[in-house]
């Protein structure tokens, strides 16, 4: 094995050797530098491998003496890992900046090499003074690198950096001197063993050492200088500062923390928390990419600092948490800076250019998701463990703040991602990609996935099989060059395979999961069939759709809360991309993501709390929760309700569903929303029996009823067909929430019947309307009309869909209504029930508007030659219609097994069956009999009319009585726009956008707060220095009190 000391010797030696090179051979110099860094990396990584395999950590003593008489280096597992990371970043960074370095000259190359070498020493050294020296070396090297771009801004930034680090270093040195005075050694281990705090004045030494290292980590608010550095320096340098330097400094803090006591850990964690939240809050107002990344970096460092501060509480989980989050940050931030450097655009809105290179868009998305902590990235597992441990320790405030900070970070990162995916852009991609600038981010992109997989292997009770699904999705992504039809077939096959694998087992074991699997996966297959209607490649569609379905399948399969949350987040990510694919979906995608994230954090917190109580992450253990049940139940309910879009949390839905592509709308409406329902059912099965939970459920019931009312009312006033259906989904999910909240046999039966029905008819309606929209090229109903003659297939589908949705017998929608009445009276929830009933009638308004405005009335000029909907849409639609018809004709086929299933949890007050006749506690209903009676009657009456008027003359659309005139234009004859004006006048106040206003105000406040706080950073170096000093004084004051 090569001694770690050679990492230094290689670095230093090469740096000296470079000096002998000819001035003109800069290219050779850079290559040499890269070789040197590669060698360093090889050494450290070989150590890492060896140590990982179980070798002992070694100490390297220089000059043949032992400490305190000499400098010693340690190569342990942590050191090896971090130094490998730093060397890797250094190598790739050097590669990335190949041209820059070459053009700047040998000095820059030497500085770069020294920078990397210095960081290595900082990691390895165990000598405090040596640490100080190399910190100085690195900071000077950094300053040198910053001013590589020789413009005013970067020189200013470099200067500010020098001042700040100078002060910090001075204090650090003082601290070391004090420490040496008390402990008699410069060796860190000796210092920490000597218990400095026991000496009078020793605490000052600790203060000085710790505070200076903390300051190096750029804590909020004493970090103005750091922000300027990120903004002004070359992105390649910023990447290194953010990834490598920060990693090293973090390790320094880690190394030095043993000299302090528990009190100090608390202070550190508080400082970190303030930094994390504050910096992410101020990030909201940023418009420049690099400064934004700076805020994000600082925020992440704050989080890491918090974690370090929590080390005494986290116990043996600490390393796992810290390393996963550190690695996520390291890979993602370096990658993001590199991409920023490639793009050469600092305005966030200009990042739309990135679309021109899909590979980079994918990388960008990967890094953003890994920063926020989505699966399958390492930070997901880290954050999960962190939350679990925090709640186990009862640190609820910290937990809440961490989630808040993450949420704030999510806001700006996803906004940015949204710009990149959807922002309008007219500019063209103006430069060539150089291979040396492409490799580093790509490599890091791959690494972040590998790291994710690797971290998952450490998680308890986590089924690694799920990564097979992800690998499959990756393959689909790699096959993106294939035509859409091929990928479609592959996707359908994969879903079919999964259903074939999952369904038989579930049928016998778990009816609930069986039904939801049917909805998720079979529904998925049906909607995929519609995808055949699309020509071309449909780039990026299939991986994300499959990602969503994978998430859904994992939710079904999940046996632990971790798996459940994993699936939940995958589904969220997949659906986010699906939604944002739509036209004009940028804002809707963002609001979907934000609500989903907030919901997911609520779920995460609740899982944490439950873990704290039951010490188990089995899903079934939720049932054992006793103490915090109100909080846990509410948090979980809120989390799931963000998906079901209940009142107050619904504002993301209409736009997201309306703007989505024609076959995506049913995916996200008929299928995705059911994930929330499934979650709620799991929740209520586990906790429903508790009286506390019942109290919350009562509120949920009201919420569901109001959601139903407001959703339907709003739907009645829409002009956009898909938006109308979206509001209708909101209200239908309101019904389901209401029925679930009843927590009785009939209530759950209602909810299940509604879930199945809503899946059936909303798929039919969304698919049909989507297909119609594809043909006619507009969402607006008043621009359509009279399409029944051109599109009989679509008309029949919509007709059946709306009859079922309205709950008119004999179709299956009535089953839900009938059960609903019995359930409501049985539960004594009369007034809520009446509200739901009222909203059910309001459904007629929008259903009529939908079918009338689109298919009846007057056909427009430009639609005269429109053809019927694509056969690929018709196939799934008619399969669903057959399903609906079977359900309508023989409701007992579905209701009987449902009854049996629900009897497990609510044994009383079910239906009793006598052939086709169902008897509930209050009423009775024979679905089959009604169907037959109505069928015979209808045919008889039709026959009668045919007999009487079979010779009717077919006339044109203008052959109407028009007060003795004739209509002039179909546009002016088709009554559709604002058709319920009178209704709006009477009841429109109920749907005034109060809730949207509420959220708008919230976001305004957050932004003004960020704007106000951002003014702290005046850009003045002296002010920044004052902040640094004030920070130290604040620490001192805290310490002495």
């Amino acid at each position: 094995m090569i001694s770690p000391i050679h990492i230094i010797s290689i670095g230093l030696g090469t740096a000296f050797a470079l000096g002998f090179l000819n001035k003109k051979s800069n290219g050779l110099a850079v290559s040499l530098m890269l070789v040197a860094i590669a060698l360093m990396a090889a050494v450290s990584s070989s150590w890492f491998i060896k140590l990982y395999q179980g070798a002992e950590a070694i100490e390297v003593y220089t000059a043949g003496f032992k400490p305190p008489y000499s400098i010693n280096l340690r190569m342990g597992l942590n050191e090896a890992l971090l130094s490998s990371l730093i060397n890797l970043a250094g190598f790739l960074g050097g590669l990335y900046m190949f041209k820059n370095l070459k053009n700047t000259g040998k000095h820059a190359i030497m500085v770069f090499l020294v920078f990397v070498m210095g960081l290595n020493v900082i990691i390895l050294t165990r000598d405090a003074f040596n640490l100080f020296v190399f910190m100085e070396v690195v900071s000077i090297a950094t300053a040198g690198l910053i001013i590589l771009i020789q413009d005013g801004k970067s020189i200013q930034a470099g200067f500010k950096y020098m001042i700040a680090t100078g002060i910090i270093a001075g204090i650090f040195l003082l601290g070391i001197i004090f420490a040496y005075y008390f402990s008699g050694s410069l060796n860190i281990d000796d210092i920490s063993n000597s218990n400095l705090l026991a000496f009078k004045g020793g605490s000052v030494a600790v203060l000085m050492i710790i505070v200076s290292v903390v300051l190096e980590l750029k804590p909020f608010p004493a970090n103005g200088w750091a922000l300027d550095v990120y903004e002004a320096s070359d992105p390649g340098i910023a990447a290194l500062i953010s990834a490598a330097s920060a990693t090293a400094m973090y390790f320094v803090l880690f190394k030095l923390m043993p000299i302090a006591d528990l009190q100090w850990y608390k202070i550190i964690s508080t400082a970190g928390l303030i930094t994390f939240v504050g910096s992410n809050l101020f990030g909201l107002k940023q418009t420049g990419a690099r400064r934004l990344l700076g805020y994000s970096s600082i925020g992440q460092l704050g989080l890491l600092m918090t974690i370090l501060g929590l080390k005494p509480f986290l116990g043996d989980k600490f390393e796992y948490i810290a390393i996963t989050i550190l690695i996520s940050h390291y890979l993602a931030k370096a990658g993001l800076f590199w991409i920023a450097g490639l793009l050469k655009k600092d305005k966030l809105k200009d990042w739309a250019l990135l679309r021109k290179k899909p590979l980079f868009l994918v990388l960008f998305g990967t890094f953003v998701f890994s920063l926020i902590g989505f699966p399958p990235f390492p930070s997901f597992f880290g954050k999960w463990e962190l939350i679990m441990s925090l709640s186990q320790q009862g640190l609820y405030f910290t937990l809440a703040m961490i989630l808040t900070g993450s949420f704030l970070e999510g806001i700006y990162l996803f906004r940015w991602l949204g710009y990149a995916i959807k922002m309008e852009s007219n500019e063209s991609w103006t430069f060539k990609l150089e291979w040396n600038k492409v490799i580093p981010p790509v490599l890091f992109g791959i690494l972040v996935y590998l790291a994710g997989y690797y971290s998952s292997t450490f998680a308890e009770n986590f089924n690694g099989l799920y990564f097979i699904a992800l690998a499959f999705i990756l393959i689909i992504y790699l096959l993106d060059f294939l035509p859409a039809a091929v990928k479609n077939i592959l996707s359908i096959l994969s879903l079919a395979l999964v259903s074939w694998y999952m369904l038989p087992g579930l049928y016998s074991e778990d009816m609930l999961r069986f039904i939801f699997t049917l909805i998720f996966l079979v529904g998925g297959i049906l909607t995929f069939i519609a995808g055949f209607a699309y020509k071309g490649k449909r780039e990026g569609f299939y991986p994300v759709a499959l990602l969503m379905y994978a998430g859904l399948a994992i939710i079904i399969r999940a046996s632990t809360t971790l798996e459940f949350f994993f699936g939940w987040e995958l589904m969220t990510a997949g659906s986010y991309f699906l939604i944002i694919r739509g036209k004009k979906s940028m804002a809707h995608g963002l609001s979907y993501m934000l609500f989903s994230m907030a919901g997911a954090y609520a779920i995460l917190a609740a899982f944490g709390l439950s873990f704290a109580e039951t010490a188990s992450i089995q899903l079934s253990s939720l049932a054992a929760v006793g103490g915090n049940i109100t909080v846990i139940f509410s948090l979980l309910a809120i989390g799931f309700m963000t998906k079901t879009a209940s009142l107050g949390l619904h504002i993301w839905l209409p736009g997201a569903h309306a703007e989505a592509e024609s076959d995506v709308s049913p995916m996200v409406s008929a299928i995705l929303l059911k994930a929330g329902v499934f979650g709620l059912m799991i929740l209520m099965i586990a906790m429903g029996n508790n009286p506390e939970a019942t109290r919350v459920a009562y509120v949920l019931g009201w919420l569901g009823a109001l959601t139903a009312l407001v959703g339907n009312l709003a739907a009645a006033f829409q002009e956009d067909a898909k938006r109308l259906l979206a509001y209708s989904s909101i209200s239908q999910l309101g019904y389901i929430l209401f029925a679930l909240a009843m927590m009785s046999h009939l209530g759950w039966m209602t909810a299940m019947v509604y879930s199945i029905n809503h899946f059936l008819y909303k798929s039919i309606l969304f698919l049909t309307i989507g297909a119609v929209v594809l043909k006619v090229g507009t969402h607006y109903m008043y621009k359509m009309g009279g399409l029944i003659k051109n599109m009989p297939l679509a008309f029949i589908a919509v007709l059946i869909g709306i009859i079922a949705l309205a709950g008119v017998p004999p179709l299956s929608g009535f089953a839900g209504k009938w059960l609903f009445y019995n359930a409501v009276i049985d539960k004594h929830w009369y007034f809520q029930g009446v509200i739901v009933f009222f909203s059910g009638i309001i459904a007629f308004l929008y259903l009529f508007k939908l079918i009338y405005s689109v298919f009846l009335g007057q056909l427009k000029d430009n639609l005269r030659h429109v053809k019927d909907i694509s056969i690929w849409f018709a196939i799934p639609i008619y399969i669903l219609i057959i399903g609906l018809m079977i359900f309508s004709a023989k409701p007992d086929l579905v209701l009987k097994p449902l009854g049996e299933m629900i009897s497990v949890w609510y044994p009383n007050a079910g239906l009793s069956w006598e052939g086709g006749l169902a008897t509930a506690p209050y009423g009775y209903w024979n679905g089959t009999g009604v169907m037959i009676t109505i069928g015979i009657m209808f045919m008889a009456l039709l026959g009668w009319l045919l007999l009487l008027s079979s010779k009717a003359v077919k006339v044109g659309q203008f052959n109407i009585v028009y007060s003795a005139e004739a209509p002039q234009r179909p546009e002016t004859t088709h009554v559709s726009y604002n058709i319920y004006a009178g209704y709006n006048k009477a009841l429109g106040w109920m749907v005034a956008p109060k809730i949207t206003e509420f959220w708008d105000t919230m976001s305004d406040w957050a932004h003004s707060l960020a704007e106000y706080g951002r003014r702290l950073y005046s850009g003045n170096g002296q002010v920044y220095t004052t902040y640094v000093l004030a920070y130290i004084i604040a620490f001192y004051l805290i310490m002495i009190f």
Partner: protein
């Protein structure tokens, strides 16, 4: 949407042929008169082949006369009194309907300008067969005091078939009631077949109509 010019001097621009672009980008011509209206000709409807049934039906038709609420001239002021307690036409099975689709009797109440005639023809053709026309006043017989006007027709029966004329200027409601009674007699005798007459002599009627309605911008028969 671009409009193509037509050489017809009086063509309504809304009914001119126009070129439109479909949602798929293909362009095609829309000819409103052809595309938006039915061009079917009226039919002669044979009475029921069983005389007793036809007699029964005629009785029902005669006793249930639904009048189109369309006042074409000054005489329409005489129609509302018909429904008042003094004359109470309801007791004869007469009531007014607001839409030609549901009416059987068209009262042409006095002078008819050419402009109104066009609307009258349209409404008349929209009424379901069998249908009856009552013509009030001298104006419908020979033009009355407007016999030499440049835009008032002189003889209604050249444009639509008339079942009963009521002379006078204006005829009083009593005269109208008498006319209704006469109409009932005619229907019961099986002579209320003027709608078939119109269909049978359709070309002649159209020729007369088109002679004076120069801006003819509707299909030949308004269903």
């Amino acid at each position: 949407m671009s409009e193509t010019k037509n050489n017809n001097k009086f063509e309504n621009p809304h009914y001119a042929k126009r070129e439109v672009t479909g949602p798929d980008g293909k362009q095609f011509i829309v000819d409103p008169i052809k595309d938006y209206f039915s061009d079917e000709r009226p039919k002669v409807y044979e009475p029921n082949s069983i005389p007793v049934v036809e007699k029964f039906l005629n009785w029902a038709r005669a006793e249930s006369l639904w009048v189109l609420g369309f006042g074409t001239g000054c005489g329409s002021i005489e129609i509302p009194p018909l429904m008042t307690p003094r004359f109470d036409a309801f007791r004869f099975g007469i009531q007014s309907r607001p839409t030609p689709r549901q009416s059987n009797v068209f009262i042409i109440s006095g002078y008819l300008a050419v402009k109104t005639l066009k609307r009258v023809i349209r409404s008349y053709e929209q009424m379901p067969s069998p249908k009856y026309v009552l013509a009030l006043g001298s104006c419908t017989i020979n033009g009355g005091m407007y016999f030499d006007s440049y835009n008032t027709i002189n003889r209604l029966d050249h444009y639509i078939p008339v079942d009963v004329y009521v002379a006078g200027c204006m005829p009083r409601p009593e005269a109208l009631l008498a006319a209704f009674n006469r109409l009932k007699e005619l229907i019961k005798e099986g002579k209320g077949e003027k709608a078939n007459e119109y269909a049978a002599n359709f070309d002649w009627y159209k020729e007369n109509q088109k002679k004076i309605i120069k801006d003819w911008n509707m299909p030949d028969y308004n269903w």
